[in-house]
């Protein structure tokens, strides 16, 4: 059991980092769900696109790093807007099964087009600052891990302010919780969903740029990441920003620590086992969900 204790802090720190990424992806899902009851299965592709487009701008066009990241985020936001206009808006009256399949189709299209344009090789970015890990006690920590945590925190505050302190956020929430009431108040629901897609695509792209220096980003890595982000959002409490953050960290840490007990190949199944457990015993998540009080799911 000596090795167990030796690896524990390292696994914990990597779990916290990957948990922050899951939290960011989950925040993207929650942002859309706060404006309408749509779940966008192409959220993971936004993450992947953020990383890959930054890589292209940095190495192909030779832009400076911050500039490349900013333009990549803008491009992904544009893709999010286009996805709403071309896929979600024509299907705004369809059943959720149709919407789900359409976003899965968009996900297939985005990932395969990406593989076609930018190549199928895994890509990586240079870290934001410093490649050498520094030590806190015995634990080596990469500076990039701190960047991830800091950005997650800033984004959480930004999303909190957006949804609780601005009229736009209130309008978004109204169009989700009470569509008829929102219509009567003159809130354009389609516009709200449109904006929410932009915000969630932006959050996804930032997550992608943060994750690419740590893990390799491939054209097909988006789907699994998107699913795990969704699981994080469900685990913490569907429809809550804080729930997505908490669920992301819990999921990341549990998944990382599970490496101690089971072979590493089974790591991907851990998230889904957690999902099945939480859905059968407490479907509204750890913190509870605002959408599941009145209805039985």
């Amino acid at each position: 059991m000596d090795s167990w204790l030796y690896y524990f802090p390292q696994l914990l720190s990597s779990g916290i980092t990957i948990g922050a990424i899951y939290a960011l992806v989950g925040l993207g899902f929650v942002t859309i769900s706060r404006a309408s009851q749509i779940i966008n299965f192409a959220q993971g592709e936004f993450v992947m696109l953020g990383g890959v487009i930054t890589f292209f701008l940095l190495n192909g066009v030779k832009l400076p790093y911050p500039f490349a990241a900013l333009i990549a985020i803008l491009i992904v936001i544009l893709i999010g807007f286009m996805m709403h206009v071309l896929v979600i808006y024509p299907l705004r009256k369809a059943s959720i099964l149709i919407l789900m399949m359409a976003t899965l189709g968009a996900s297939i299209f985005l990932s395969s087009t990406n593989g076609l344009i930018f190549g199928t090789l895994p890509k990586t970015l240079p870290p934001f600052s410093g490649e050498h890990p520094f030590r806190i006690g015995e634990i080596p920590i990469l500076p990039q891990n701190l960047w991830v945590l800091l950005s997650t925190f800033i984004l959480l505050i930004f999303l909190y302010l957006l949804s609780h302190r601005t009229l736009l956020g209130k309008a978004m929430e109204a169009s989700s919780t009470d569509p008829l009431g929102a219509d009567l108040l003159g809130i354009s629901r389609n516009l709200m969903v449109f904006l929410a897609f932009g915000v969630s695509a932006g959050v996804g792209a930032i997550a992608g740029i943060l994750i690419t220096p740590l893990f390799f980003t491939n054209y097909s890595s988006g789907t699994l990441l998107g699913l795990k982000g969704f699981i994080a959002a469900v685990l913490g409490g569907w429809g809550k920003n804080s729930g997505a953050i908490l669920g992301g960290f819990v999921l990341g840490i549990v998944e990382s620590l599970s490496l101690v007990f089971i072979p590493s190949g089974y790591k991907d199944a851990v998230a889904f086992v957690i999902l099945l457990l939480i859905l059968s015993f407490r479907p509204k998540g750890i913190l509870g969900s605002p959408y599941m009080d009145s209805r039985r799911w």
């Binding site: 369809a94 297939i108 985005l110 699913l227 859905l279 479907p283």
Partner: protein
């Protein structure tokens, strides 16, 4: 004379006319529930099925139709669960995989005849479905979809990682042809008759099921669970029943798939395959048993045509999926049928108006 609604007849309707005419010749009418179960049209379809491979004796066509038959079996089971009971499942590829792997392991490791392995596949898929169904089927909507999807992913991970049992990523090779009493289905033509024979049997079973008390309860559950339970339908039990039935169909399809392709590897049962199967059910039209079969044939052909374009096939496939969903969200046949009924009504009214004018 006052001109009333000017845009009753849209120019677009001219484009519908030719397919409408073709479909009205062949398509079963999903709205005529009160009619007898099997009609002349069914025998016409059966005749076409028996004769088609003999007239068009091209081995590529035979192979495609074998695949289409297998997918249609799977889509038929899924249609009972999604179209009739109104639930969502993104995990039926896993049951397909369970069927395929049961057959593969039983025939290659334990030398059990394929005919027995065929039934064992359905049984294993059904048993696993009944084990997980109890807790999963409490959920609704997105969460049901997510839970079934999670089950599918867990299945994939287990298959990939337990190398000595399932062969890992490489899979299992050398599964023998399907054989009954020493008669081996070793050519595409024989396999065609095998798969479509199995499909016909399952189709007759599901058609009778839909007209039985269970089938009516499925429709009631899809319409409203509260109303269904208030008239004494055991809602969880009915949902579980359709889930297990769908899984058993998938297991049979998977067993046939393993025998026909003679391999079983995990890449065949991924999320992309689930999307394909669910699209078959949606395009055929929910709550219609002929639909999934037509959808399966259509999409198998589309996939075959797309595979010629190599690396461009997946982007085109994604675009086709989205376009089909945007323009035919309730199935191709249903949408065209609605237009047909509208047009017939329009022409009838026009005749009456013309009479009134004179």
């Amino acid at each position: 004379m006052v001109e009333t609604k000017k845009n009753e007849f849209r120019k677009r309707d001219f484009f519908y006319l030719v397919p409408l005419w073709l479909i009205s010749l062949m398509a079963p009418d999903p709205y005529l529930y009160h009619k007898k179960g099997f009609k002349k049209k069914d025998f016409f379809y059966l005749g076409v099925l028996v004769l088609a491979p003999l007239i068009w004796s091209d081995s590529h066509f035979h192979h495609l139709m074998v695949l289409a038959g297998i997918y249609a079996t799977l889509a038929l089971g899924l249609s009972l669960f999604m179209g009739y009971a109104g639930q969502i499942s993104l995990g039926h590829a896993a049951f397909f995989g369970i069927g395929a792997y049961t057959t593969a392991i039983l025939t290659t490791r334990y030398a059990i005849p394929t005919f027995l392995a065929f039934w064992a596949s359905a049984l294993s898929a059904a048993v696993i479905a009944s084990l997980i169904g109890r807790s999963i089927l409490k959920l609704k909507g997105y969460f049901l979809a997510l839970a079934t999807l999670g089950f599918g992913e867990i299945f994939l991970v287990i298959v990939r990682e337990s190398t000595d049992f399932t062969g890992g990523v490489i899979g299992i090779f050398g599964i023998p042809w399907f054989s009954v009493m020493g008669f081996s289905f070793d050519t595409y033509l024989k396999q065609y008759y095998l798969t479509w024979g199995v499909l016909t049997g399952l189709f007759i079973f599901s058609k009778n099921l839909v007209r039985s008390k269970v089938g009516r309860s499925l429709l009631a559950v899809a319409a409203s669970e509260d109303a269904a339970s208030s008239v004494g339908i055991n809602v969880p039990w009915i949902k579980l029943e359709s889930f297990v039935l769908g899984a058993a169909f998938s297991g049979l399809a998977g067993s046939l798939f393993a025998c026909v392709m003679s391999t079983a590897n995990p890449e065949a049962f991924s999320l992309g395959f689930t999307v394909l199967i669910v699209m078959m059910v949606i395009l055929g039209g929910m709550g219609n048993l002929y639909g999934p079969i037509a959808g399966a044939i259509l999409l198998t052909w589309v996939m075959d045509i797309l595979s010629k374009y190599q690396e461009y096939s997946l982007p085109i496939y994604g675009v086709i999926l989205i376009l089909l969903l945007v323009f035919f969200p309730d199935g191709i046949g249903t949408r065209l049928n609605v237009r047909l009924i509208y047009l017939i009504g329009y022409w009838a009214k026009k005749k009456k108006r013309d009479v009134g004018k004179l």
